[in-house]
């Protein structure tokens, strides 16, 4: 058996994994009930099973029909972009909008092809001023502006 369609292969596995997870989790933890009075486990079990079956069909397809390779993952933008968002979210309270936005903009910019320090700094200053004026002053979102230790 040779995998002819790598995209289908991995997609099939992904669907099977999701499907089985939802099916078993629902079976173990929630009541099924009956068709007349469906319990909390009924709908997720049916759907989970269906998803696993569909995943299996996609998987079979991977051995039958030839398809293109999975394009390679670019880890630099992936990691930097996700990291920048998380850094922003978890530092907003301690570092304020000024600090958290700095992390977001600089880390995010590192995910791109070029990183020009001066350009990113100008962008950061503009974005911080804009965010403070629009979101904190204008829309009154309850964000701290400055880091907690400076208050």
């Amino acid at each position: 058996m040779k995998v002819k369609g790598p995209k289908e292969f991995w997609a099939g596995l992904m669907f099977i994994a999701f499907g089985l997870f939802f099916l078993f989790w629902a079976q173990i933890n929630y009541q099924m009930g009956s068709a007349v009075r469906m319990g909390p486990g009924y709908f997720p079990s049916v759907l989970g099973g269906l998803l696993a079956v569909l995943g299996a069909l996609v998987l079979i397809d991977a051995f039958v029909e030839a398809g293109p390779k999975v394009p390679s993952f670019h880890f630099r933008p992936l990691i930097m972009i996700l990291l920048s968002c998380l850094a922003f979210a978890y530092t907003l309270k301690p570092l304020g909008l000024v600090g958290a936005t700095a992390l977001l903009v600089y880390l995010g910019a590192l995910g791109g092809h070029e990183f020009k320090f001066k350009e990113v700094t100008i962008l950061y200053v503009v974005l911080v001023i804009f965010s403070v004026l629009v979101f904190v002053k204008g829309l009154t979102l309850p964000f701290p502006i400055w880091p907690a230790f400076m208050e």
Binding site: K7, E8, W10, A11, M14, F15, F18, F22, W25, Y30, Q31, S34, A35, V36, R37, M38, G39, P40, F43, P44, L47, G48, L51, L54, G55, L57, V58, D61, V70, P71, F73, H74, P77, L78, I81, L82, S84, C85, L86, F88, A89, Y90, T101, L104, V105, G108, A109, G111, G112, H113, E119, V120, L123, Y124, L127, S131, F135, T140, P142, F143
Partner: protein, 501 residues
């Protein structure tokens, strides 16, 4: 004539200074994100959703609607001048629009796109006004069985319209349905799939999913290639189409408008499908079909009219049935719920001013868009020269702030990151996120209606076939599925999407 009285009421609402301002902000933003490739209406509306909480319901909905149809205008500008779809629905406009620009006819191409869109906008506004009320009356008689079957039809339609593998699209729908079930089960009060995380008790926020799957995944994918853009920044000398052009473009505009309006109403339809179908139709019927792909004005007129018509008529299922036909409409439901309005047929009778005000605002917005897009075209062209490395950190900031502010909790941003990762994997594996998003929105609704229908029928699943309206929806779904599963048509469908890509 009741319709005129209603429209008068609507214009009264839409022309109030505040709502005019909201409409202007909406269409301006829509044009802006339409022009910029890599920023779509889904991410933008998702970003603005938390903010609309502070507005009144009519103003908020008018603004959000403006973003959607405004993006259709803006998208064509980028398609014609840069050969990049600023919006997914202007993909086909690239084919002939860019060729026209290369031949020095960028002006007429832009004017055709804007005027075609305007004409389509006027007609489809009327269509919404005419067809929505009777449809809502029918919808008031719907029981749970009918609703369930209709949602099945909607999801099947979404699958049919997805690119690539049919199986994967169905699987994505089901994955979406499952993810929609996370949170407290309304019937039993049981917390499902929450894994002890208290933030998940209310379920996963739709905005969070949409921003992750569309917004973040899109940014990461865009950062992969170093694409350079060639912009036609040369002065656009004449805008107005020639007499010869007018002769050639009126029929395609008409056909595009009506085809687009019809396809927009379909569940799963909207701007993207409409523009694509109109281009294919035009290529078939036009006397100039040999010029298509080489700068035929019909190839700009038809899809640009159709995408705007489709964008507007896709409000019909939302306003009459409370069922979203695409991801943008799903966000509109979110916006209505934030404002405490339960979407459904009762909106039209109970919130008359809201319904008609929104319809009237669409016409007003279209008028603004023509002005924004023709005389001010130079401004948008300048915008195209902004490099992406400036653009995407700005988008990131707005997305992060928007999602964080949903409940002032970093957890939502974490979730967005997880869905961003899932979205990126899906891009790599060619699994489309759009059907998943639709499933995600409909998940809880479907379960609820299925339960009620089964309770009423004492557990007999035949109820879905015994009720005539419900049976009609089910039969239509089955026919759709069978048709596209047939080998001949399947091939055709794949060809069609290859051509589009």
């Amino acid at each position: 004539m009741e319709i005129f009285a209603n429209l008068a009421l609507g214009f009264g609402v839409a022309l109030s200074p505040f709502n005019l301002l909201m409409c202007l902000i909406g269409v301006l933003l829509g044009t802006l994100i339409g022009v910029l490739p890599g920023v779509g209406p889904v991410a933008t509306i998702a970003m603005l959703l938390p903010i609309t909480f502070n507005l009144n319901p009519i103003g908020a909905l008018i603004m959000l609607a403006g973003i959607y149809y405004g993006a259709q205008y803006g998208g064509s500008t980028t398609a014609i001048l840069v050969n990049l779809p600023g919006e997914s629905s202007s993909v086909v406009t690239c084919l002939d629009g860019y060729q026209m620009a290369r031949q020095g006819r960028a002006g007429p191409a832009l004017a055709t796109a804007a005027l075609g869109s305007f004409f389509a906008g006027c007609v489809s506004t009327l269509i919404v006004a005419m067809f929505a009320p009777p449809l809502a009356e029918v919808a008031l008689k719907f029981g749970p069985a009918e609703y369930f079957s209709l949602m099945v039809l909607g999801l099947v339609a979404a699958v049919v319209l997805a690119h690539g593998s049919l199986l994967k699209a169905i699987a994505m729908v089901i994955l979406g349905l499952l993810l929609g079930l996370v949170g407290t089960d309304v019937n039993s009060g049981v917390l499902r799939f929450a894994f002890g995380i208290s933030e998940l008790a209310d379920g996963i926020g739709f905005v969070t999913v949409a921003m992750g799957m569309f917004g973040l995944a899109e940014i990461i994918t865009n950062l992969e290639d170093k694409g350079t853009r060639e912009v036609f920044t040369k002065k656009i000398t004449h805008l107005w189409p020639t007499k010869q052009d007018w002769k050639r473009l009126w029929a395609p505009v008409l056909r595009g408008t009506f085809l687009g309006s019809a396809l927009g109403i379909l569940p799963g339809g909207g701007a993207l499908l409409s523009s694509f179908a109109a281009y294919t139709l035009e290529k078939k019927v036009s006397r100039f079909s040999h010029e298509f792909g080489k700068g035929a004005i019909e190839g700009v007129a038809a899809p640009e009219s159709a995408n705007n018509a489709g964008a507007q008529t896709s409000f019909i299922p939302l306003l009459t049935l409370g069922i979203p036909s695409n991801a943008v409409m799903a966000l509109m439901i979110g916006a209505m719920m934030i404002q405490g309005i339960a979407p459904g047929p009762q909106v039209m009778t109970e919130r008359k001013e809201l319904f008609w005000g929104m319809i009237a605002s669409m016409w007003v917005g279209n008028l603004m868009l023509v002005v924004l897009n023709l005389p001010l075209i130079g401004m948008w062209i300048k915008l195209l020269t902004v490099p992406y490395r400036i653009l995407y950190p700005s988008i990131l900031v707005f997305m992060a702030i928007g999602v964080y502010s949903l409940s002032n909790n970093p957890f939502d941003v974490l979730l967005m990151g997880i869905f961003g990762l899932l979205g990126y994997v899906c891009v790599k594996l060619e699994c489309e996120p759009a059907p998943m998003i639709l499933g995600f929105i409909l998940g809880p609704l479907m379960e609820e209606n299925l339960r009620r229908a089964m309770l009423l029928s004492r557990g007999d699943p035949m109820t879905f076939i015994q009720k005539p309206i419900s049976a009609g929806f089910i039969i239509a779904s089955v026919i759709l599925l069978v048709i596209i599963a047939l080998p001949a048509l399947r091939k055709k469908r794949e060809e069609v999407f290859v051509e589009e890509a």
